[in-house]
């Protein structure tokens, strides 16, 4: 009996024609996706937990490391003051450069008071009136900032009319609910 010619063999498109496929003993190889789906489900749950619909309303400066706190109070969009080891930056603009003389006295910093007063006056003119919510500032300070500098910034804010000063911190777990 003669062997069948290759022309009569079944066509198996897309698969390598090895001996097993020629004999018809091959099986369609399928990927087992169950474990991958499990992994993706865990990933999606984790990401959904850390999902923020509000987005970040503050831009953190690279020049500083914020301190960690258990405070759970939500951040609001206010005027940002960044206190680094080199400068005091208001709304993205460096106002005071830190020199030794800045760290001696404990009074408000005149240049900073002037800049903050201008900002408050501008807000008043733009909106016609000014309420308590606009008289707030967020202060971002580096962990190594000295207390005297922080106090001078805070007293400058108070003198300029910003009655509420918020310290921006990185929230760590174990915070008290507010």
């Amino acid at each position: 009996m003669s062997t069948p010619s290759k022309r009569h063999l079944p066509l198996t498109l897309g698969y390598k024609k090895n001996k097993a496929s020629i004999r018809g003993k091959d099986k369609k190889v399928t990927l087992n996706l169950t474990s991958m789906i499990d992994m993706f489900t865990i990933l999606v749950v984790f990401l959904l937990k850390s999902y923020s619909a509000e987005g970040q309303i503050v831009t953190l400066s690279d020049a500083l490391t914020l301190p960690e706190s258990r405070s759970d109070q939500k951040i609001e969009l206010n005027l940002e003051i960044i206190v680094t080891n080199d400068a005091i930056i208001v709304d993205g603009e460096p106002i005071v450069f830190i020199e030794e003389s800045v760290l001696i006295e404990g009074n408000p910093i005149p240049v900073l008071v002037e800049r903050l007063s201008d900002h408050l006056e501008y807000t008043r003119q733009m909106r016609g009136t000014i309420d308590e919510t606009e008289m707030k500032v967020n202060i971002q300070g580096d962990v190594a900032t000295r207390a005297i500098l922080l106090q001078r910034v805070m007293s400058s804010c108070a003198q300029a009319g910003y009655a509420t000063q918020n310290l921006t911190v990185i929230k760590v777990e174990g915070g008290d609910e507010q």
Binding site: Q56, V143, Q165, G175
Partner: protein, 188 residues
């Protein structure tokens, strides 16, 4: 001869496999979206209370407020020691020790001891003055205390319901006077 019908199919039924590809497609879309909008660093704030030195609106004190002001404790941070000043007297909480933070050796305080002291003070306050709610606390420091030490102190205070912190900075000589003046205190 035909086989009698039994009502059962003798064909082997294979369980149909779930087609997971649409789920995979969904995950492939949703995961990059969630990765982009996830916030791994959560920012919060600590609202500071105005203190005598930084007060913006003085002159609106009611009797209850002034009583609260009289009772409000002070935490005094110097470069050697931490003190708790209350209406019952000023006492030392801990000595300064060096701690490694991000590779730098910096001054630190015993915050557990502070927590215990504040818990005791809260108990004494609730016994002696149960009708006056005291939430304000003043952090009084010397010039060069680090910001992270101030924030850690505020954190410990908040644990004991002293959640309206104020900051005052004074020279060491002024703090020493405060400590000596408060050493007597009032017995609870």
């Amino acid at each position: 001869m035909a086989k009698a019908a039994t009502g059962r199919s003798h064909r082997i039924r294979h369980a149909s496999e779930l087609d997971l590809l649409p789920v995979m497609n969904l995950f492939c879309v949703i995961i990059p979206f969630l990765l982009l909008s996830a916030s791994f660093l959560e920012i919060s704030i600590i609202e500071m209370s105005p203190t005598e030195g930084i007060s913006a609106g003085a002159g609106t004190t009611s009797l209850a407020q002034s009583e609260e002001q009289q009772l409000q404790p002070k935490i005094i941070l110097t470069n050697e020691e931490m003190f708790l000043g209350t209406v019952f007297g000023t006492r030392s909480i801990s000595r300064v020790f060096l701690e490694d933070r991000d590779g730098n050796m910096v001054n630190s305080y015993d915050y557990d001891a502070l927590s215990d002291a504040l818990e005791d003070f809260r108990g004494e306050l609730d016994t002696a003055f149960p009708t006056i709610p005291v939430h304000k606390i003043t952090i009084l420091t010397v010039d060069d205390v680090r910001y992270d030490n101030i924030v850690m102190t505020i954190d410990v205070c908040a644990l004991h319901d002293f959640d309206k912190p104020g900051l005052q900075v004074a020279a060491y000589s002024v703090l020493q006077r405060q400590i000596l003046e408060g050493a007597g205190g009032v017995s609870p």
